[in-house]
Symmetry: C2
Subunit: 347 residues, 2 copies
DNA sequence: GTTCTTGTTGCTCATCTGTCTCCCACGTCC
DNA sequence: GGACGTGGGAGACAGATGAGCAACAAGAAC
């Protein structure tokens, strides 16, 4: 257990050497030539005294804090933020960095979000991660540019900043592909009504995947509603009321899929025997707990957090130039998570 | 937008005064005698230049960082951590503090958790919040004691540290009370099997509340299973198979309630017409999205985070002595959240 | 009416926080 | 008299803090 009132100076006195020497030894300074005996003595005394470096003083001197700022939207609103934080925290810890986290709101004014960044800047974080709650275009506070920064799960409007986002199209293709692979030929899509990248990209992938499989992608049924359980329910009721009722349903997210489950139950349709369902998001609380378990596409929140942190640290340490990556966002894949909601269609 | 290369010195030069004067003005030092004109000039020049204080240097000198460490378990595993973080972040921000967050695992070794605390200590946080994932007894790293600390959602084993926990009994009483108020006389409890405070306290409150209402609390049916959806399902099947089938069900948590919903559906029991259900936790993803919406008891995670932060800051600023509060944990109430899963029993 | 005292105002100097880092100073041995 | 081996001194990082110093005014003593 370390006593935080012990400084390098105390170690120096106790070891009978100069402060400089202690610093050299403890930091293993390359050019410092100090005898093994002295090194040993300094180290053992430092340990005895429970010396721990004062990172503040270090940071002041070296202009490096070893801290990364993370401004995250909706920390408590979705489980997504938690995964981003976790990915970032583990990546940061692995390289000796720590995280300063500030919660913000996507709907907060630009000034208030700028103030959040300002707080981080005053504390001299080495870099900033800016994470949004869902994949969209954000307007970034201007002061973000003053240190290396990476955007997580969004792209900046008109912005030239390194960003990492999920592969919406690939995920949607995997979802639809799983339905096709199970033998379904009548596949419907329950889509979101928001104007976000996911809405159009998943729709596009849905149609394209069907078409590439020799089906009529353009004619495949699509119903849109707000992306909540109730919306999913309503859209599913409509889509399942068609005379060419789909046997496979791709849902914009797990919540909508949950609504689809209810619609199916009300119609006496058993999942997956009568209807196969795929979701999106892999919100474990929902997907794993529905009955049967929902096969869905996972969003790589953990991975995005980790990727962003890795590259941010690389940039901070001069191993990378973020500007090179800024023009195009990095796309991380969305893997299919298989559970029990897909089966072959009835003959 | 502030340029972080501007220091107090630059302001001093531009204003034609000494560094000391700038510091005095900007910090509104009480005993400093400086003319209003000079004050005005300093302030306007500071603003013009976009001066922002270097909190590192400040902290080094004043021995106050304005940072609070938060070590939290399972940041991504439950939504609970997010609420604690949010409560802490908002309380901290309101008083000019920021949060350094470190994720840890409840199952991690004591040494590894001690290292987490050590990282915070090296950065000279003013205080530490230690949050667990669920209400239980934890063994705390010893170095936690070196700065003011507050434990969130747990009590320390044998520990003398200020803690804040949820009112398990009160919450359970509210849940059972709601069932009784609706007119139910045959009420069952689906309990957890883990040996945590909630298990025994909720059971106790369940029986006591029934007894106080003139029913036979000791004879009321209780079935225990692992506190997941499947466990809830199994326990509900058992409890609903009794000949004196309960018309009201209190479930240990929302996940178990979700299982009970399925059991009821399979038995052709409609909620709430044939069976009223109350959960615990208010996990919105589940409770609000089940059909009908689940009436449940909310755990005060946000409030605990905020309470802990408030009191921690008070202690840091010398306004409170945490030792006074250490002997007994503070208990925060668990309010009932009414949705649509309770109705009067059929005649 | 001049000088001295005392008080007030307005601001600055020196020092401190804990650590790093460039540069220099010894001695010793060829 | 260089080269080598060992180690130390003195800023610097950015700001905080309390003692201290001019300058001036009012009042007092002569």
């Amino acid at each position: 257990m370390s006593n935080k009132n012990i400084g390098i100076k105390d170690v120096a006195v106790a070891a009978g050497v100069s402060v400089t020497t202690v610093s050299h030894v403890l930091n293993e300074v390359a050019y410092a030539r100090i005898s093994p005996e002295t090194r040993g003595k300094v180290r053992s005394i430092a340990e005895q005294l429970g010396y721990g470096p004062n990172r503040l003083a270090q940071a002041l001197r070296t202009q490096r804090t070893g801290m990364l700022g993370l401004v995250s939207e909706g920390i408590a609103t979705t489980p997504h933020a938690g995964h981003i934080i976790l990915g970032a925290d583990e990546a940061a810890k692995a390289r000796g960095y720590n995280l300063m986290i500030i919660n913000t709101s996507g709907s907060a004014s630009l000034e208030s979000r700028q103030a959040d960044v300002e707080a981080l800047l005053e504390r001299r974080v080495d870099g900033i991660l800016y994470a949004t709650m869902y994949h969209r275009n954000v307007e970034l506070p201007a002061n973000l540019g003053s240190v290396p920064s990476v955007l997580v799960d969004s792209v900046a409007t008109g912005g030239n900043i390194t960003a990492v986002i999920p592969d919406e199209e690939g995920g949607a293709r995997a979802a639809v592909g799983a339905l096709l692979a199970a033998g379904h030929t009548r596949v419907g899509f329950i889509n979101n009504t928001d104007d976000v990248p996911a809405t159009s990209q998943r729709l596009h992938a849905f149609r394209a995947t069907l078409t590439e499989a020799g089906l009529d992608g353009d004619a495949a049924p699509v119903e849109s509603e707000v992306s909540e359980v109730q919306g999913g329910y309503e859209a599913a009721r409509r889509i399942l009321a068609r005379e060419d009722r789909p046997t496979g349903l791709f849902c914009y997210n797990d919540r909508m899929a949950m609504g689809a489950y209810r619609a199916a139950a009300e119609l006496g349709l058993s999942i997956p025997a009568d209807l196969s369902v795929v979701g999106f998001d892999d919100q474990e609380l929902i997907a794993a707990n529905l009955h049967p378990g929902l096969t869905t596409v996972a969003l790589p929140h953990y991975e995005m957090g980790a990727w962003a942190t890795e590259h941010l640290i690389d940039a901070v340490e001069g191993k990378t130039d973020l500007a090179l990556m800024a023009p195009h966002p990095t796309i991380l894949s969305c893997p299919l998570v298989r559970r029990d909601s897909i089966a072959a269609p009835r003959q």
